[in-house]
Subunit: 243 residues, 2 copies
């Protein structure tokens, strides 16, 4: 371990975030299926901004105020009162360019607000569709890093852990990593990297199970593919914007 | 997933235990380095009972009341006011047989009391030195299982996760496992199983790092070896006893 390098930690669940001091860190919010993948896609396709909100009524209210598109699902269906869902395929440039997307998700939004409340120095969102932008930024930023997995109702999940592992495998030589969760994530990623989709399927990952029951295999494949929406998603003034 | 089988879950940190209903479950407390390894060793070597306590003053008080041996470390040294440490090698049969050991540890004891407070149906402790006894019991008991890792100050650690994975690899056909943390643990164990010690070392596992700095490599090797103290450690009436 090189003490002269900046630290990198992985937090596998929002319920563990309080264990870490993130006041000097860039926090990467990871909600692979599908919040942060959809955020990257919308911003890459020219959305003006994405406003992440926790609850459906708030989504409706802010959607009206901002003349934005309201989106969000509950139990695999568009939530009552909202217009669109959580799939990245709903946000092509022809639809979303120049618009404000007000998106309500459960796990990812909760964690993002938690990181903001805990005083994170900077917050970005990470997903396979924008993994290179995330890694390039983390290498260049010269700040400690917290890879924060949104998990599923606070239970550790495979896909967010895999993304943390993928980032670590790319950038680890730039950081000092004294964090077993990071080792664990990278070990699993190395096992899975030849075919992330088949790995998820073979492990019967709980979220794979849920989404494939909704017929969303193509969403899963997209959300496990690198760099199809390679933009940095930066959180400032309660909004995510492309940088 | 076979819905007719009983469930098995893995909880990677005490901070996640509240996410699970353990009222019908056998909870396996896992604190590989070194609490649960030392507990198995003392009971295997004939200790009458092991009383796990959280704090040093309580350890001293109960030690006096029970005419027991007081043991516990803080920062790698025997805690002030106690007689012995946390190493399994301190408890050969010639010393511990017939005696009461009052043991204070931080992570493992905290989790054990948390599981008891949360209404666990049964509590046992698990470690590589007694892995076969644990697995045999879990297979025969016909109850849901929670593999509960003590972690390190609530941060996920490699060695407890490895033990959960080792148990899962042995007993998974008897259970329905819809739990990404269990898949993660088993995946890591499969990577590590040919040489757990070298895996810990190569990953620079944080606890390996701490203990090897105290010159405790032999403790680590023992605590990663199967069945040298193959006894079931059962928690009842605030004590751990051999069954």
């Amino acid at each position: 371990m090189d003490q002269t390098k900046l630290s990198l930690y992985t937090c596998l669940s929002p319920s563990l975030l309080h264990l870490y001091d993130i006041s000097d860190s860039i926090v990467v919010i990871i909600d692979v299926l599908r919040a942060t993948s959809t955020i990257a896609t919308a911003l890459h396709n020219g959305a003006k901004e994405v406003i992440p909100v926790s609850a459906v009524p708030e989504c409706i209210r802010i959607g009206k105020e901002m003349c934005g598109i309201t989106a969000g699902e509950r139990d695999g269906k568009i939530a009552d009162g909202l217009e669109y869902g959580n799939s990245p395929f709903e946000y092509p440039a022809s639809f979303i360019a120049g618009k404000t997307l007000v998106l309500t998700t459960t796990n990812g939004t909760k964690l993002l607000h938690m990181a903001a409340d805990n005083g994170a120095k900077q917050i970005i969102t990470g997903s396979f569709p924008n993994i290179s932008a995330v890694c390039d930024f983390l290498i260049s930023a010269n700040q400690p890093v917290m890879l924060a997995c949104a998990a599923w109702k606070d239970r550790v999940n495979i896909e967010d852990t895999l993304f943390a592992g993928a980032v670590i495998s790319r950038i680890k030589t730039h950081f000092s990593i004294n964090c077993d969760a990071s080792n664990l994530a990278e070990t699993m990623y190395n096992d899975a990297k030849d075919n992330l989709y088949e790995f998820m399927k073979s492990k019967n990952a709980s979220h794979y199970h849920r989404l494939s029951n909704y017929g969303l295999e193509e969403d899963i494949r997209y959300c496990l593919t690198n760099d199809n929406a390679n933009v940095l998603c930066f959180y400032q003034d309660n909004k995510l914007v492309a940088k």
